[in-house]
Symmetry: C3
Subunit: 261 residues, 3 copies
């Protein structure tokens, strides 16, 4: 009983996802396949990396995560298998694994080169279906990762903005906008330890500011801008009952500051 | 082999759904998880209640339905387990279960308070993942509901408009717009018994009217406004091959009358 | 262990899909249900036929494909079971199976008439749930197709434009726009055999033309219009990193020509 997750930029409506599922089930008919999301914006490797970091570790050890956000499909970029923190990842080596690999160092990275575990006919434009899906299926059946190809060396990195703690403030950015329009930052709760979270704390984003860091949305009336510790342990800005992203016109990358009087 | 369904307002594209699935599978790796929908409009408890009423009973007895439409997450509202008509429900007690509980009285209602069955770390903003998902998983493994907390008393209610039968007419409202744009009312076929459904019956909604109650869409040419008995046994208004909601500008709550000459 | 796939025009957000899944699982609790897509445009039988042709054969032999794109629901149109190339199909006989049946001739076609395998109560507007889902579930349990009804004769056809090879060119049309906005034609790679694919080949669509047939998107810079052999073996037109359909304003049915100097 193996679990295989899929994360892609195909779009939730796309039948290409089912082409991958059919391929997996043709090799491993009892695999449990779970969608993480197919709504990564097209070719947005960074968003894929953030989603994986937030979600993958929620699955049981031994889960196989297949990630197809692959603007370089068919070019020289490698496709890799990586074992990271008890989980298996199969993805193009374009940085999409860089955030999970930053949390926990990979213990094994293999470059997928052994065509024996690929579909017989490999297209140039859909390696998710023709290479990654069949390799994931064979892995779920117990094939040793070393059979898939040679060791690969270091995984590709992307530049990620770090939140910085200064004397009287923490400086970060909006890292992600969730489906409710909440603005999720890269400032973790850990970075605020020892500082007040009551009305003496001010959270500033663009021309907006709000005082105090709350526990949950229901703590304030509908329409109020609040800061709170989100479900993944990071500071987020939210408008109760509405979309902060839409109302404030804020996007990924905008600076956020937590400051104290 | 247990079936766990998920109904949320996270949005179909949201990876938060997968966070719940990963949590469930970490505890109950062989659970069968089925999405009912994740497209309940944000915080729309009423729409969640209508969808559950229409869909939940289609699943086999013993199914566990987890419902996360939870505008009060992290506040004092209770999260409950309820056994209703052979099915298990786990939801915030905010009225989202009020329509299924109106059909069949709950035989057991428990308030989820025993943290032993929750995730070790519970956020203030995502009880779907941290409380409801793990409790559902433990329930699917055979844990007795009474272990999850104390009896809860009455489930929260919402006001629902009743269709009313008068001497020469039945008065109701649009209860739901489906994905084809059909306007589904709260007038059941039972309320029309003994009355003609041919050209003597007139169905009125806003400034529109149509004569006769048909069996199916194909009975009239494309573009025709018709009334028919929908697949859940209620009168619906439909424009053949098009979206009645868009064409007529009608929304949930608009009055509908069936009258006879 | 049976696999049942679902292809519908209900919309990805629709809970009607779950009504079918609940019905299937009530009869066959261990069935593996996989969504192909629920985003076929409403009543678009042709798009359903193209998607099925591209995806169904990726699943293992013995898979049961249920297709609910059914503008004639409740009218005289037949619902059929068809065995085609080792796969089982259950669909209205409105041409939605015409492309899979063109690839491989059906070996058995049955008209679903035996109400013993339907839900007890059959609506006039949702035969996907009330007839097709339960028949698929019973089929997955090993019921012989001949029990479902009498032989049906020929499957309904639709007119499909054929690509034509002439002396100095191949003439086809855009058959499908995928979720990335790529324009996928009905011109297969086989039709180009013996001709150059380098800069001497010209691909023309509406007022646009591009020279050379590439292997993959990454072969040219972002924003470039290119022609390539897509993942299903047909010529497609793509703008690297963008949506060709949006940028060029091209839709299904527009002529495409591959010509040589």
């Amino acid at each position: 009983m193996s679990i295989i997750t899929l994360t892609t930029d195909f779009g939730t409506d796309s039948p290409y996802v089912a082409a991958m599922k059919g391929t997996i089930l043709s090799i491993a008919p009892t695999a449990t396949i779970v969608d993480i999301t197919h709504a990564i914006p097209p070719q947005d490797v960074r968003e894929g990396a953030v989603v994986l970091e937030n979600i993958a570790h929620r699955f049981p050890d031994g889960t196989i995560h297949v990630v197809v956000v692959d603007p370089g499909v068919g070019t020289e970029r490698a496709i890799v298998y990586a074992k990271i923190g008890g989980h298996h990842f199969i993805a193009p080596d374009n940085g999409v694994l860089s955030r999970v690999a930053k949390r926990t160092a990979p213990v094994e990275v293999i470059r997928l080169e052994n065509t024996e575990y690929w579909l017989d006919k490999v297209s140039s434009t859909f390696h998710g279906r023709d290479i990654m899906a069949p390799v994931a299926a064979h892995l779920s059946l117990g094939i040793e990762p070393s059979r898939f190809g040679p060791p690969h060396g270091e995984l590709g990195q992307l530049e990620w903005p770090n939140a910085v703690r200064r004397q009287d403030r923490v400086e970060g950015v909006v890292l992600k906008v969730d489906s409710f329009g909440n603005l999720i930052t890269n400032i973790t709760a850990d970075m605020l330890v020892g500082q007040p979270t009551d009305g003496r704390a001010c959270v500033i984003c663009s021309i907006y500011e709000t005082w105090g860091i709350y526990q949950t949305y229901g703590d304030q009336p509908r329409g109020t801008l609040i800061a709170l510790i989100g479900s993944d342990g990071c500071i987020e800005l939210s408008i109760v009952g509405e979309s902060a992203a839409e109302r404030l016109g804020i996007q990924v990358g905008v600076p956020v500051i937590v400051a104290w009087e």
